[in-house]
Symmetry: D2
Subunit: 334 residues, 4 copies
């Protein structure tokens, strides 16, 4: 939100909408300000958005000449929506990095163990021999498509939101469009028509997160089966999860978390989708659903990737047991 | 499913995997066969898939020489997944047509009434005057992005599934890849590696459906407000929904249905997302979630588009009242 | 709905609100009428409820003297809500019967195999020996609580709904309360204040359905593990689900369906819960969620009970393998 | 968790299962210990439960003679499940208090304004005059049923969980049942068979929470309509939510939050319901869903009650406008 207000003032000074000195002061002061969420709590409860309190905390630090040039012509939702996109942009950079690392780990697994024969299991029953590479592919190929999807959606998603009180930029008169353009350049976001009542892009992105944790959930579920004591084809991590009552156990706890996270993100996606029914020109009954869903989904996805990277990097593949299970099957089915 | 078996036999005869006569007979017989869902019910209960019964119903009509060449080397999931994609392909064609018609209606509304001043309402309160065109844009722009999204996802989604019992095409030996290619050409689908345990594409598509009904839900919610007796800026349809007890009423029943459908499709998307956690090489506990979600979502989406087209084509815009509401607001706020 | 209109006319004639002859004719005609859902479709689309068309189809069969006494003073939601409760009452009777049968099957399993030693598995790992009776108890005890819960909620749930156009019975003047009382006696429902905007009881009941399918889902999930080829402690049904590609398989397809149904009913419960946000004095955007959720949940629950009864009655318990798995565990952990 | 370990040691010393001195030391030390969640984070990641680290942090403070008597014969899930019930018990006490206060506020509203005529609105349209008391009843009566439901479920819900490693109390030999009884007396919980794999009670309770926030959501939705600028029958709070761009606005922000919370709790209930599918004798893929859902639902419900209490206590009822709207309606419909 600070980043938005700084960039807005810079853009407005460039377009001679506010004095250059005001923009300079705003950038100087805001780049050093620290506001803790706690300071915004009471005001958010009162106003239904943190922005009013946020602005008054900032204005306390600004000269009286500059105060009136802060947040000029814009509205709470402009700040908050653009701030959310900036957060998402950073989160995407982090997620992409983790995703690439995970993909590399899977490719390494495929290189090393791809040709190991192992049993396919369909509907819980031994089916036919395949190779371990086919299992890895079922985790890997959807991730490659995820990379493709993400690249396609970025142009829609990573857009500035600027509309003013009711989305029509009217307060800026003939400078509205230019302001959007300059602002988006400063923030390194796409320029865009206002979208404050159009929440489709966010739901496209959160579904991407939910698909990602879904795919990691499949990995988790597959590992849980292969790590069952009776199957023992993999060990999630040696010296893994301990039990307080049974010292002989080695619990595949990260895989369980992956399955749970897939279901949790799916439920959050359903909340997010309902935020598209955003009534009229602003509707916090819908908007709050996003505030609840998006941060959780970002955290869940990043955590799930961490777990998946740990598993893919440390999982012990018991090729002898895979081989043994194939042979036992072939013996009893010929 | 019939279409898949016909195309498979044609492809297999082209590649000299089954006799040409078998393929000819299969195509002749299957193109005329009618199987009602009822005939498949008992077998589906027993086997957890309709395919076994489906095949035995077909085999009754085939010569004994040809029987063994039907469904050669393939498995239930190949038939069902590819059939589902064929259904989705047809559904997309229908949905695209309706979506284009709806977009045209909205553009016409924008052309005709786009400059009419009307009140923006934020958080249920009168905010500032805008134009009706801004409201129409909030329905229209997400739909244009939907067209873009759909075009991007088709290459991933509309793919044949052929893998054989456990997905590795092993039974076809060195002809597996060629068979996938020829089969996909006949069915006019993309050729693809097997994806029977990778359900990300389907969940990308169903989210597209849920976003679409979400956007239509926003239209519905907006109409419900503008059609309120106290606001009366639009009438959903003249001579609309009647009440059994209150003859003076004209209920905006299609708009209500749009809001409800948005929530229902959102809930179905959450089911669908969980199907990605498809354990091992086949997992009907996950797969059944798709069987439940996808047909409902297709029907809900098509119905919602019908409603939206009716509304956009027949809604009565009360420009005088919009104007009046703006003037009243301006008078009391200056 | 026919049952409601008949009972209403009977009650109204008893209270001298309509002529006895009208009530007699209404009962005679309506008890023989058959209306197919298809006849109501077009009118439902137009009016957002089927009641207007339903009434006009009935009125065609009534004398003109009687017509005006049909549906006297009541509204669409009275008919539909009470009809829904009547359906639920019948469904409960069916579900209770099936539930009792299932409980008996489980008790028989416990009697017969309760003392058989078998392995507990925690977090997918062999834990410690228990008895099969402990597993059966985990399915049985929640069901006994379900019986208790159902008995507690019936007094709230199985209530007549009668309020007239806006829920205040005003059209009936001082006879409103008496009418509710007589009507509820005829329909063998609880007498009740109007509850047309209070949907908590329905959501309490549907959660009961979702808990029930959840418990059956746990049974299914447990059977899927014990029926895995590598564990083989139970066979869901001998000569169970067949594969179109792998004749050696015996798929536990009913157990998979139980797990899927648990998730589907959970998703439907979330729809149903949102119907509680029923705006003002009637809100079909919320109401439609119920029309979608409740019938599906009733069908899903009954079907799941059928599957569970089949499993509990036909499951083959491999006591030798249970014993063997315990011994193997004890040997390797001492 | 500390409370559980203290009570367990007391109970075990009473039954001569551990030395009295050990129980005394455990109670002395644990009653003073403070463990922050952060100290448990790393261990929870490793072991999938916080209990192992929790115990080792405690053991550091115990004499070596006493260490071995801590947590005797019990397992992580016993501690965690019982601790969760203790938290829920405290939360219920808080929620009951707030609920009673809210009910009193509603009754006061009914006393003061119950007879004020106002318009019923059905399907967004003016319907017929009712009284404001009917609106209040629609919020009040479900809450009275909620009190009834809560009293019925407490006997099932507020139960101790003690089962040992796999739920059969085997380690305690013939003292198991007595231990459960004494432990539950100390903790002021119901004595109970182990229920660690039976999650129906928790889902009954969380549905109660979701119904409660649903009813509050209906209040919120009703207030949003009555507080619309064009209707102005109520003001949520005078000097309510401010806008950063439009000083004339008074946003009903608490009501919006109530509607959003209803939807969020509904989505959490769907997660919780899936935790009933708790596989085998312990299944963290299901269990984690509860860890995610229950704390959020408790917080959401308490917050929603706070909002509802504020609204019911501070809402300004504009009786003149209600009267005016009724008269306008009557004039135009006679």
């Amino acid at each position: 939100m600070l980043q938005f207000e700084m960039a807005l003032s810079t853009a407005q000074s460039k377009l001679n909408m506010i004095p250059d000195e005001a923009a300079t002061e705003i950038n100087q002061i805001l780049s050093k300000i620290k506001i803790s969420p706690g300071e915004l709590a009471e005001g958010t409860l009162k106003n239904g958005v943190p922005v009013i309190t946020f602005l008054s905390l900032i204005k306390e630090r600004l000269s009286s000449a500059t105060k009136n040039h802060l947040h000029y012509g814009t509205t709470a939702q402009d700040v908050m929506d653009t701030a959310q996109i900036l957060i998402i942009k950073d989160a995407i950079a982090l997620i992409e990095k983790k995703l690439q690392l995970f993909i590399q780990h899977l490719q390494k697994l495929a290189d090393q163990y791809g040709n190991v024969p192992c049993m396919a299991r369909t509907r819980g029953q031994l089916a036919m021999p395949i190779t371990f590479g086919i299992k890895v592919n079922a985790w890997l190929l959807p991730l490659q498509r995820q990379v493709e999807r993400l690249n396609e959606m970025k142009k829609r998603l990573l857009c500035v939101q600027l509309g003013g009180a009711v989305g029509n930029l009217s307060v800026y008169q003939d400078k509205g469009e230019a302001l959007v353009k300059v602002l988006s350049e400063i923030l390194q976001l796409q320029s865009s028509c206002q979208w404050h009542t159009q929440r489709d892009n966010l739901s496209e992105f959160t579904n991407w997160l939910a698909i990602l944790t879904g795919v990691l959930g499949k990995l988790g579920a597959d590992v849980l089966v292969m790590a069952q004591s009776e199957i023992s084809e993999v060990v999630e991590i040696e010296d893994g999860g301990k039990s307080s009552a049974m010292p002989h156990k080695n619990n595949p706890v990260l895989s369980e978390a992956l399955v749970a996270t897939a279901r949790i993100n799916a439920a959050l996606q359903l909340q997010q989708l309902q935020s598209i029914v955003h009534v009229n020109e602003r509707d916090a009954a819908a908007w709050i659903l996003e505030w609840n869903a998006i941060p959780q989904m970002l955290i869940n996805t990043t955590t799930a990737l961490n777990h998946a990277i740990t598993i893919a990097g440390k999982m012990k593949i018991n090729t002898a047991m895979m081989q043994h299970n194939v042979e036992t099957f072939l013996k009893s089915n010929t």
